[in-house]
Amino acid sequence: MANSDKGIILRGVSKRFGDKAVLDGVDLDIPIGKSTVIVGCSGTGKSVLIKSIMGIFPIDSGQIWFDGAEITSPKQRRSIKDRFKFGMLFQGAALFDSQTVWENVSFGLVNGQGMKRGEAREAAVEYLRQVGLSAETADLLPAQLSGGMQKRVGLARAIATRPDYLFFDEPTTGLDPIMSDVINDLIRSTVTSMGVTAVSITHDMASVRKIADTVAMLHQGKIVWSGSVKQIDSSTNSYISQFVNGRAQGPINTDV
């Protein structure tokens, strides 16, 4: 089965961990060249969804296409490995703590593309500059950086391989509102300037309004609403309305 549509398409994607169905038949269209944000409450499977798209978690059933090429199975995914490049900014930045900042940023260039270390260091300094960090940070270890700086380094590492698809897992979690805004601006400008297809997950509405072109809401393993970012405030969908307005009352069960 082939699908000629551009972008990322998910059909009936399911994933279980033991008895718990985390994703339960997810259908989602992620348009090419746009920034799509997936929202949802904590523990609804947003991270699992993004990692399933990335191939970090193999899915139990359903299908995934990248630009018309099916990549559901690991074998199919390997066959398009050279066609698409991916980058991801993890929730905790996931920097390699035994390596310096520049080694982290240039990791994909050295290990994935075989770039020489001297050349890679220069490239890393340039990517650090793009995310607002000076050349002096290049030789520091990740443990010597603040949370916001770690996120910037994570972003520099994600964009260093010039990816076609960028994924952001809760990019502003744990940051103060000002640093969150700085990271949101960086994501928006990076996505726009590089023309990549971006997929982010967050429950931070300020992030959604800043970085999203389109929004999808995940609840109990299913997409319950999707639409343009302009529609989120006017939507009559009870799920997105409850989430956007942060109300305890509504169809989303808030019992703990």
Partner: protein, 280 residues
């Protein structure tokens, strides 16, 4: 009257039911253990099959392997050397007090060198390295798993088995034999120190006896054991760390499992290899 009979029968029925439920619980428990064992064996087999498959594929991370060689081999020298030194010394002292009872003190040099080279050198070095390196590997990889660093490797077009596991296991197999060779020499010298300076043996005669009694097969069997133990230590450290549970508790449990399983496997394979080399 009928009612009384019913009451009489009730305790017997309850007892029978209680007995059946206990048997049922015992069988269910046994079944769960068997399933868990089969599942764990399957997971370990898949892990090592994947690792072996990745060993023969490019790129080879030589720099990482050399770093692990230094960590496993060179940095373990002090702890392994001290262990071997005092083991050799104790061995000489104990042998002397035992052999003196039937005037066989002259056999001390033989006992020390054969025990060290065949058995104590590889086993004690293996156990010390399991505690030092196996635990560190499990903790490092477990932390990388928990903080999503292993996931990050995948997003950067790097196979985590090839990048993290293969260099560690290859370094373990290569580092342990020279480490054990050094331990053998230090252990023998420990025995020599006690024999010469405490028990009054002739230095030259002790060393000549030592050299004459030891054969190539003795040394070779110890080195083969060392290589196998190197595989076990790094393999268990990597497996448990790579599959660590969440949080600090998960990493702690992975570290404990890595050391315990490696230690037990070292003792089991020590017997298996001794049987293979020396059983007539």
């Amino acid at each position: 009257m009928k009612k009384t009979e019913q009451h009489k029968h009730q305790p017997a029925t309850h007892q029978a039911r209680g007995g059946l439920s206990r048997i049922h619980a015992a069988v269910a428990g046994l079944g769960a253990m068997v399933l868990q064992f089969v599942s764990a064996t399957g997971q370990i087999s898949v892990f090592f099959a994947t690792t072996l498959g990745q060993m023969v594929q490019r790129p080879f991370y030589l720099r990482l392997m050399l770093r692990q060689l230094r960590e496993i081999g060179y940095n373990s020298l002090p702890v392994v050397g001290l262990t071997a030194l005092f083991t050799g010394m104790v061995l000489a002292l104990q042998s002397y007090t035992g052999f003196a009872r039937f005037n066989a003190e002259s056999a001390i040099a033989n006992v020390v060198v054969l025990s060290m080279v065949r058995e104590l050198g590889p086993v004690l070095a293996g156990l010390m390295v399991a505690g030092r390196v196996g635990a560190a590997m499990a903790a490092e990889l477990g932390t990388m798993r928990v903080t999503e660093q292993i996931d990050a490797l995948q997003t950067l077009s790097t196979n985590p088995y090839r990048y993290l596991i293969v260099p560690r296991i290859v370094a373990g197999v290569l580092a342990l034999p020279p480490l054990v060779l050094v331990a053998d020499v230090i252990g023998v010298m420990g025995g020599w120190i006690v024999a010469v300076y405490k028990l009054g043996f002739n230095s030259g005669a002790y060393l000549i006896t030592t050299v004459n009694i030891v054969t190539f097969e003795d040394v070779f069997s110890g080195l083969v054991k060392a290589a196998v133990f190197g595989f076990i230590i790094t393999g268990m450290g990597c497996y448990h760390g790579f599959n660590s549970g969440r949080g600090a508790q998960g990493v702690g449990a992975a570290t404990t499992r890595a050391v315990v399983s490696a230690s037990i496997l070292i003792l089991v394979f020590d017997y298996v290899l001794t049987e293979a080399f020396f059983a007539k």
